[in-house]
Amino acid sequence: MNRIIVPGEVIAEKEIRMPYTYTEGGKTYSTVLGIYEAEHSSIIPLEGLWSPNRDDDVVGIVEEDKGSVYIVDLNSPYTGVIISKFSQTELAPGDVIYAKVKEFDEKKEVILMHPRKLYGGKIINVKPSKVPRIIGNKNTMLNELIQGSKSNIIVGMNGMLWVKGGDVALATEAILKIQEEAHTQGLTDRIKKMFEKTGV
């Protein structure tokens, strides 16, 4: 039975180690507003920030060229850094890039690697907590989006999405619908129906 939980709510009467919880006095408490899935005994946060992990794919905008490094806006409290000598492509402020997280250091800087320049297209910002739902289980939702709208879609774990070609407006509408209804059941089917109805 899934239920919505709030910070400070008791998850279990014993101490369990689980993301988005803390233990105190033999009890486990939630720290976020989220959905508790009892069968998997896991918490899916409904809101929240992206916490960088190694090998996360991100979309960002180059903010500044400092000579030895490029500063990248990742739409999060942390700034992205690309070390120029490891970048094959020449970058300039304003460029949209797609890169991988190499390292998240103690200075809370996100070191990026393998940047790829993205030309044209449109950027959509979504809540980072909804990105896993946009990708879906084994990419099902993302494949549905790409097939339905015939667009190229690149998803950054930081909540920035890049869309180009096909029906961009329809893709945007679908992405925003997923963001809104991420916590409901049967969403993939509804998105499928939505594309069948409008059809590209």
Binding site: I4, V6, P7, G8, P45, E47, P77
Partner: protein
């Protein structure tokens, strides 16, 4: 509505307060979460005649840079009253001594409840805007700000609430309104962490005895169950509405 007794209005008539409440009765509370699109989290509260809006931004890069703490997030609260908010002299708009003080104590409440060490070098902004005031706005402000923080997805140890207790004559009362606040013998706003009953904010003007304080604390804790439930329901409502739609 109330009789004057010398310079003081008579605040308790036939065992009822000026607005017909019992001694340990709260004013009606209504909270709505997620009402501002631009903010990371927001909430609106109607607590009796108090109408307060709270918005949360962040965590974001702490600016100016010298305020940043490399080990944890800093909390910046800003309590303000709208120019049209007040009844007579109670609180004025703009930055003043009172607003600065309330902003400070509000920051301190949330410094103890937000998991700040998860976001080093950042700041979290809490804005509390009083649109209409009728006593107890700092308590209502903290109550609504904690809903806004949870709605912003900021990890917290608990969902704190605040309410004031006071003393009228020999009687301890809960949740003072403006008239009671002005003429009561004591006014004690308290913020509580409902998980274990920790006191996060405790201020007082007037004087009370030790026994009075125990009464006040138990009154606040009892009322807290009601307030906590309203806070939780407000947080869940927007999501439950969408779940309900596709059931």
């Amino acid at each position: 509505m109330f009789k004057l007794e010398g310079n003081k209005p008579q605040l308790i008539i036939d065992g009822k307060r000026t607005d017909g409440r019992g001694f340990d009765e709260l004013r009606p509370i209504k909270i709505e979460a997620n009402i501002l699109k631009n903010a990371n989290g927001s909430a609106y509260i109607e607590w009796g005649n108090n109408k307060i809006l709270a918005a949360v931004y962040g965590p974001k890069e702490a600016l100016p840079k010298h305020t940043a703490d490399p080990t944890m997030a800093i909390i910046k609260s800003r309590y303000t009253m709208a120019p049209f908010s007040s009844l007579e002299e109670h609180g004025r708009s703009g930055p003043n001594r009172r607003a600065t003080e309330i902003s400070k104590v509000t920051s301190e409440v949330f410094e103890n409840i937000i998991m700040r060490e998860m976001f080093p070098g950042t700041e979290i902004d809490i804005f509390i805007e009083v649109l209409q005031s009728d006593g107890g706005t700092r308590a209502a402000g903290i109550t609504v700000a904690s809903v806004a923080l949870a709605a912003a997805g900021i990890p917290m140890y608990d969902l704190p609430y605040a309410v004031s207790a006071g003393k009228i004559g020999d009687q301890m009362v809960l949740d003072l309104n403006k008239i009671e606040d002005n003429y009561s013998d004591a006014d004690i706003p308290m913020a509580i962490s409902p998980r274990n009953g920790d006191i996060l904010l405790l201020q007082m003007d007037g004087s009370i005895t030790k026994e009075d304080f125990s009464t006040a604390y138990s009154m606040v804790k009892k009322a807290g169950a009601t307030i906590s439930k309203i806070q939780k329901d407000a947080l869940k409502a927007p999501y439950e509405k969408i779940i309900e739609k596709y059931r």
